[in-house]
Amino acid sequence: MTSEQFLFWLFAVLTCGGAFAVVITQNVVRMAFWLIVSLGSVAGLFFLLNADFLGAAQLLIYVGGTVVLLIFGVMLTASGPYLQIKTSPAEGFLAGGIAFLFLVLIVSTVYAVDWDHKSQLMATHENGQATGIGPQPGYNPEQQGNTTRPIAFALLGMRPDKDLASNQPADLMDTGDVDDLSQAVYMGDEMELSTGYLLVFEIISVHLLVVLVGAAYLARAKRRVDASEVA
Amino acid sequence: MGPILLLTLIIFLPTIGAIALLAVPKDNDEYLRIGALGVTVVTFVLTLFLLGDFNTDDPAIQPVFEVIQVDGATEPPDLKLLANYDLSEGKVMRDGQEVQVQRGITIPWIRTWNIEYKLGYDGISVPLLLLTSFISVLAMMASWSIKKMVRGYLILFLLLETGMLGVFLALDFFLFYVFWEVMLLPMYFLIGIWGGPRKEYAAIKFFLYTLLGSVLMLIAMLMFYFGSAAHSDQTSTFDLLELAVIAQNGLFDQQMQMIAFVLLFIGFAIKVPTFPFHTWLPDAHVEAPTPISMILAGVLLKMGGYGILRIAFPLCPFGAHWAAYTLVVIGAFSIIYGAFAAMAQTDFKRLVAYSSVSHMGYVIVGMAVWKLSVDTNALHHWQLGINGAMFQMIAHGVSSAGMFFIVGVIYDRVHHRDLNQFGGLSKLMPWYSGLAAGIFFAGLGLPGMCGFIGEIFVTLSAWNYSPLLAIIVAAGVILTAGYILWTIQRVFLGPEYRGPHAEEITPMNGREFTVAAVLLAFAIILGVYPPIMFDLMGGSIELLTETLQQGLENATDATSTAGLPGN
């Protein structure tokens, strides 16, 4: 059992266990705690998958932000008896049954697919011809490691990982030399450039801003409207 | 101003004005009226510009564009307005060189069906355009008597003017049809809202009659559209000039020409109106407010005649010749019938309405006296007839508008139109009576006034076609004199006024005087010096008759060579 395997199983169990605990726990505050466990483990899984930037983001945003936000919510809305609101057992069983069937469906799907074959097909399709590089044509984090820079480029509209990785020597990609990149971009005619995510990024940014404004508006303290006053 | 802009502006300036009026608050009646009057005046001035651009030496459609074709180019050629050119042997020459030209403004409109925004004018439409914008100005001046919902009235009035001007300028059958219908709706409301006691009845009657005509015209239009596909170098076309060329070459078969002509003629005859289709006219006239009666009599009726000359004849020369005798019979009968009916009226306005039926009968007679003959003189007589008919249209536009205005002036004062309850107005309203007598004499066909020239020329042309019918037409002069003089006697002469509201009879005001005096002045000018009109339209009419004669001969030849069953 390699460390990778170990860590995977560790984080997998924590993740699943945390999630399951969230489901079965009745107290909201505890649910929040288990959620932290689960999400934190997910971040671990991200690191395992060489998605270092994502892992960090997961920790920062989810564990550090969202869950805190949730707890705030709990505290702002909690009033004694309502900390625990129970559902009927019948509902629980029904939900459990459906969830089980759902799980079966997904798991069976996962096993039904020949992922390697699919990957090969995808790679072939991507480059327009069979490259013959092998079964792992994807983004190879072991070779390339740090994902922050490519993600940043992608968000700014460039895709050095796609446009260069498969056609250019890897060291060029490693250096990340701007001049070379620009050369690559200007190589132009025969090479079709992949599009980045600049527009999406902008939309998301604006979206976030709107959401923040909206949330502040919604959550602002306001006078309760009495039915009598309305009448 | 380029011709495209000028023609478009002439048509749509009233529409723009109508939209602008929407922006004026509702209650400023006086400003609204002055604004609308301004719009009509500017439109009239624009038509005068058009008259200035009009080249009387060129009988065919204007404006003329030179086609500048670059050799071997596939793109559509450039068009350049041709200002100075001369005509010899039917060719357009400039600096001694023949140039390829396109006549009329052509802008694709609905490409799918090959419909064009095609405008143009020739000697037949220019006088009518002038008449339309001129009568519109005067009718607008007469609109001061409208007190109800002034803004709506003015807007509809202006829309109506757009429709009328469009009809006289359109050279695409579809576009023509559109304008024809555009005119219909405002008229319906103008009668139906601002009319007299039976306005709803009159409005719906007018609407249904005219709509029936439109439907028949629509059928004929589609016949030509689909019939043209086989002969036009491109696809089916609504282009009246192209269709006329096809007809001139005798390519529409006789059967189709006959059917289409009957459809078109009924469509236009309803508008004219001629004898069996005329009963909408008295009701519409009687119920319509005065300015609308002026427009109806002055312009709308002319569209029927114009349609016959512009569409029915050129598109089916064979059919026209085949039906000519019927047309003359209808026209002659209308003259007599209208005069008789006018004589029996006790309603002043109804009398004038029936006189319109009578006078418009001359128009039909004059157009239809087409005798196929190797003698060139026969064609000259036909030209005399068509010229007379066209002049009669203009003259009737002036005189009948005047007559309706005269009726309106007295109606505004005494609120009744019973001929037996007038009398003695010459003493109470001297200027009014003088102008009215003048205008009525113009309608009577007194020499030196406009009505005479049209009637007499038509009558003179009729003998060559059929002596019997000519005699019937000529007999109209007696009846006309009878009912008009009798009317003058009952209304203006006599010792005293016999009807109600005697105390409200006041002399004409300045505005009313202006309208009547201008109409009378034009009636006299046209009557004394008719060449001002004949110079405009003579060439075009000559070309028309020659083209039609050719079309008839070609259509007849096609039968004899192909061995098709003729009639």
Partner: protein
Amino acid sequence: MFSDIQLTNYLLVGAFLFVCGVVCMTTKRNGIGILMGVELVLNGANINFIAFSRYTPLGLDGQIFSLFVIVLAAAEAAVALAIALNFYNNHLSIDVDRGDELQG
């Protein structure tokens, strides 16, 4: 099973997380609980994205997608919290079963 860590393993974890989230959403009457269920579902999806990014030619796109998901989840959390507060203000309770005004 403990041999090499394959794509499948991650997918199974994601699947479980997803199902847990669904169950959480259906069983919790507390609005905050439902929100937590949503987070679980999103995380399940995120795991799948990253796994595909690692093991298939999807490449960096997977990561970027999950980045967007995280951002959107944060936004969603903020809005949801605001909704929850409003809900609480209106019903003096966070029990979603009370909010059945839309019942047909």
